[in-house]
Symmetry: C2
Subunit: 328 residues, 2 copies
DNA sequence: AAAAATATGTCAATCGTTTGACATAAAATT
DNA sequence: AATTTTATGTCAAACGATTGACATATTTTT
């Protein structure tokens, strides 16, 4: 089907070894031969078979991306930035949407191992340390503690929620609710709740926490939000993600609660998508592009130098308050 | 690093050939041996090296997905559905965001070829037929004519816009504008404009077409929309995608134009995302899940049976009107 | 007890490419 | 003219798994 090395050799009128040498720039080669070989390659539309090369120990130039879902705009933008950055380094990406599914994540890990990927960027949160460790592959993680040997990149979650709460306080809120994901221990996102509690203490308002799970359907979330708005009458809500914040806005509108007059809302993530299509929402923007760049940089370093000790375990990138109408 | 077949053989106390036979269920095997081998495999966390297998002509179980971008919720949902469906068949997915970039798409095609993918699902629109044909790989296409030998899956674009325009007419609009992508010849999406023009004739209103390119930034789109609303005063706008429709709604709000009283708007695509976070928008929903399922089914058929003639070239799936507040 | 079926092992070729060893020849440098 | 450098070729062994051919046991069936 596709042209192989020996076809190129025949067309270029030289030996297979010479062609291989040209491709790998190995040993003595005249410009003339190089030109002949490259011409033949072009003519035959030849691409060295990565599969065969990787048996020789060459890199597959493949990275596995494990994230919960790309239908969440935050992950979509992060994955796309990662993909773009890796592409520039000639790497390709196997996309693994693990959902909330332990088994799927596990099966994907197996598949990635069998496919000889060069490394993994992990953003899903279903499996524990063990399963990742026994792969023996270079791994970097987003927002998730996997093991002492895996570097973590995240935004400054603590500072982000501090900024958010502070913004609500400055805007005159007194009854500020925290609406966010349930927490697991040891992950960087735990800092969000911590920041809220600290700020409550500092600013002397009492803490109110409403929990919505990442996996809750929007209907469930709407129910919880409805309940909160109707029964508790908060005048400010800090959400740990923008989508939940949008649901709050929609529910408030339905209930005839005026935003920002009677209720102020601030989100978290600050994707381009939300900024474009819900530009009214105030939010804390994660530096998605920087996160992607750093994840890729760390992974490629580990790939090319697997034995080097980690200089640093946690990489925390700054966030930005984007002030808009919902906290005006 | 990772365990190989010979390690399993050693641990199971049998020959490499026997292990391979167990894995491929080939020839005579006692249950006892099978158990021993499977136990050893488990113990060593062994995964057959796909790379080595594929040199034997086995499938890589890898499919390339070429789409413009996953930050567009429509593509995100489509890609995620495709990925999920393929995962159930034990296939993995290489994600290729081609953007608006001919060179990137071309380079990705080369990479996919070198990576020995078993097939390609193409949804990007930058390259012509030739580049896809010379790959000699099974291909199916979404919404895009690639070559006479590549099956096309799309929704019923014509019927979709007919429904949309009809909905606006029924809601009492007289000055209905068409706001959509620029067109290229021969693609299924051309039907959208055709449907609008036909409906204009049938319902006796004059056609007004405003063009926005898929690649236009939201600022550019906003400018064009602003201009249309201020200068032309349409009372109805049919958009060829939901995101553009949302921009129209935002711009109308800014200008103090009441929706749906003074202006009715209908979109196209009907992603879960829009239905959840912009539930006020009326839209034509593409059957994303069915499209994904069909694309996968067609591709897998071609992969397992590459020489079979196509029974059918165009597969058109029905759309659905989702009526909401913006056309009430 | 002979024949057939079952179970496992050894060996080698294959997939496409890389790479080292070795040979040979032409060109460039002493 | 002798030596070194450059250029290319031939050959073969990897990489990890598959598979056919063939050999040799052990069971099972007649």
């Amino acid at each position: 089907m596709a042209a192989k090395l020996s076809d190129v050799a025949k067309k270029a009128g030289c030996s297979a070894t010479t062609v291989s040498r040209v491709i790998n720039n190995h040993g003595y080669l005249s410009q003339k031969t190089k030109d002949k070989v490259f011409a033949a390659m072009r003519e035959l539309n030849y691409r060295p078979n990565s599969i065969a090369r990787s048996l020789q120990g060459k890199k597959m130039k493949l990275v596995g991306l494990i994230f919960p879902e790309i239908t969440n705009p935050f992950f979509a933008e992060l994955v796309q930035d990662i993909e773009t950055t890796l592409f520039q380094q000639n790497y390709k990406v196997i996309l693994c949407n693990a959902g909330q599914n332990k088994e799927k994540e596990r099966e994907y890990l197996r598949m990635l191992q069998a496919n000889q990927v060069d490394g993994i960027i992990a953003g899903a949160h279903n499996l524990g340390i063990n399963e990742y460790q026994q792969l023996g592959l270079p791994i970097v993680s987003f927002d998730r503690k996997l093991s002492d040997n895996v570097p973590i990149v995240s935004c400054d979650n603590y500072q982000g929620i501090k900024l958010a709460v502070h913004d609500l306080v400055q805007a005159g809120c007194h009854k500020i609710y925290f609406l966010g994901n349930e927490h697991r221990k040891g992950n960087p996102t735990d800092e969000r709740l911590a920041a809220y509690l600290d700020e409550a203490k500092e600013c002397h308002f009492s803490a109110h926490i409403r929990s919505v799970a990442f996996s809750d359907s929007s209907n469930i979330k709407n129910m919880k939000i409805h309940d909160m708005l109707v029964n508790d009458h908060p005048d400010g809500v800090v959400c740990t993600d923008d989508l939940t914040a949008v649901l709050v806005l929609q529910e408030a509108k339905k209930l005839g609660i005026k935003v920002p007059k009677e209720l102020k809302v601030i989100g978290f993530d600050g994707t381009k998508q939300i900024q474009t299509y819900h530009s009214e929402l105030s939010t804390i923007a994660q530096p998605i592009h920087d996160i992607a760049t750093l994840l890729v940089k760390l992974l490629l370093t580990r790939i090319s130098n697997p034995d080097e000790k980690l200089r640093q375990k946690n990489y925390i990138l700054p966030v930005k308050l984007i002030k808009s109408e919902t906290t005006a």
